[in-house]
């Protein structure tokens, strides 16, 4: 099943590595990814594929230091907006 997320994070050189590692380790493969950096913020649009519940990934992403928001672009809407 595919799910598309948007992620906003504080920019850091290794941020994409952190993001991709969490996706892979938690059992989600990347279908597509688009990343832009603007004013020290990294904006990501990410589509992942997995048999696992998407909340297993979004909850792990919420814990990544530097991630500000994780939003699921699906009917379930905004999952969390953390500071």
């Amino acid at each position: 099943m595919n799910n598309t997320l948007t992620i906003e994070a504080k920019h850091s050189p290794e941020f994409l590595e952190r993001l991709l590692r969490v996706c892979r380790h938690r059992g989600f493969s990347i279908v597509s990814i688009n990343a832009t950096i603007e004013q020290q913020l990294t904006h990501i649009e990410l589509t992942v594929s997995s048999d696992r519940e998407i909340t297993l990934l979004t909850k792990q992403l919420d814990k990544v230091i530097g991630i500000l928001t994780v939003t699921l672009l699906a009917s379930s809407g905004n999952i969390k907006a953390s500071a």
């Binding site: 050189p13 290794e14 590595e17 952190r18 590692r21 380790h25 519940e53 909340t55 297993l56 909850k59 792990q60 919420d62 814990k63 230091i65």
Partner: protein
Amino acid sequence: MNGANFVVHALKEQNVTQVFGYPGGAIMPLYDALFDGGVDHLLCRHEQGAAMAAIGYARSTGKVGVCIATSGPGATNLITGLADALLDSIPIVAITGQVPTHLIGTDAFQEVDVLGLSLACTKHSFMVETAEQLGPIIEQAFEIATSGRPGPVLIDIPKDIQVGPSVAYALAQLADTQKPLDQNLISHSKLLISEAKKPLLYVGGGVGMAKAVSELRTFIEQTQIPSVCTLKAIGCIQHDSTYFMGMVGMHGSKASNLAIQECDLLIAVGARFDDRVTGKLDEFAQHAKVIHLDVDAAEIDKLRQVTISMTDDLKQVLPAITVQPSIEQWQQHISEMKVTHANRYDHPGEPIFAPALLRQLAETMPADTVICSDVGQHQMWVAQHMFVDRPENHISSSGLGTMGFGVPAAVGAQVARPNDTVIAVSGDGSFMMNIQELGTIKRKQLPVKILLIDNQRLGMVRQWQELFFNGRFSETILTDNPDFVTLASAFDIPGETIVVKSQIEQALQRLLNSDGPYLLHVSISEEENVWPLVPPGAANDQMMESVG
């Protein structure tokens, strides 16, 4: 003040008085600053030992443990310790030297991408790129290591930042962000508890990390709800609490595992439904509603769908959900199971029975003794047969199961608590994994007591080979072990070997009464296994108790 002096200054601002480490090229400026910087440093004999000593220090005190290593191999040697701290949620700050900034990415001598290596084994990690970043990063590292679910944080500092000028930094005043409890969830929880006929507390390591032991004990006292605990939660509940059944899971007590399967309400407190606890997940507490209290939102519904969850501070939640259910029949049943399935220590013949030995040690050792266990059969026997009444006094590599953990963890605990007895319980396999730390004990003349249970085997693997691999003992026979007493004596550590039951009492006295370190080497039969055992893939009520 250069960057290295600033690091020492910042550590002191974080109330760090003790660090563990090993010097090398890229971290030499920091070691120069430590030379007379006012923070005590203990030289371990391998960076893995330094990381595990920092863990022992942190776990025995509740403070942050700090370890230091150089670039390249120094940093890679820390990795296992960081992974151990991550799996057990231990607050560690690791500082590594890095090659100078202009050499990063050139495959310089002792250069490795430490930040990249750290991603899978730390809660967070930093590379310091400018002098201005040093202060804020050190402050954030301590905040991240201790806040929420604690964990290890790594700071990689290039050598040029260490030798260059520092930039003054004032500590930020971090606001307390505790949110109020959700009263609907509190009311719902109290309703579930008051309606339950067979409620059970499943207590995990998060209770100790949240410093909520007192609140948990009050909750148990006021509700009289029966309880079980995980390996990491040993010590949270008083061992003689009326309806406490001990450890649950693969090598848990029979009463615990049966109670889990029978309960109608499971209250998971700072626990994460680890596979070693649940056995076959689909059949774990199959008939129970679940209240899950854990500070880490990612643990909620990760493995078990729950009825109610709260991620608030346990110190707040536990008093708020306290309500006494009417469960006399269930309590009676638990009491009967505790008697029926109590540990037995009758054992034929003269050879030493490790569970009885450990029980005797627990009954003999001074109050507030810290037990640091290594990993293997002896670790499970410690968990089953010894008793401690503070989580800070049972230090065991629970999540990662890191062989070689026991002795360096005991080094850290002994440094942290010099007036308390610290005992490392090890096996002959684990002991050899960080044997070099005997050098640390000698160097500092630490009075660490070592109880080495030796079956000349990699015992836990041997047990599984016997039970599940048709007795094909592949690479688990260690009849070529060194003479451990002679080995210890090379580090000026006295010791003795015992082989029969009649030697135990006096040998334990010599171990406990020695002024300095001591090795008690105990020879046992390789045939002794850890029972009960929930076999892989089985539900918790399908325990193996012996083999014919």
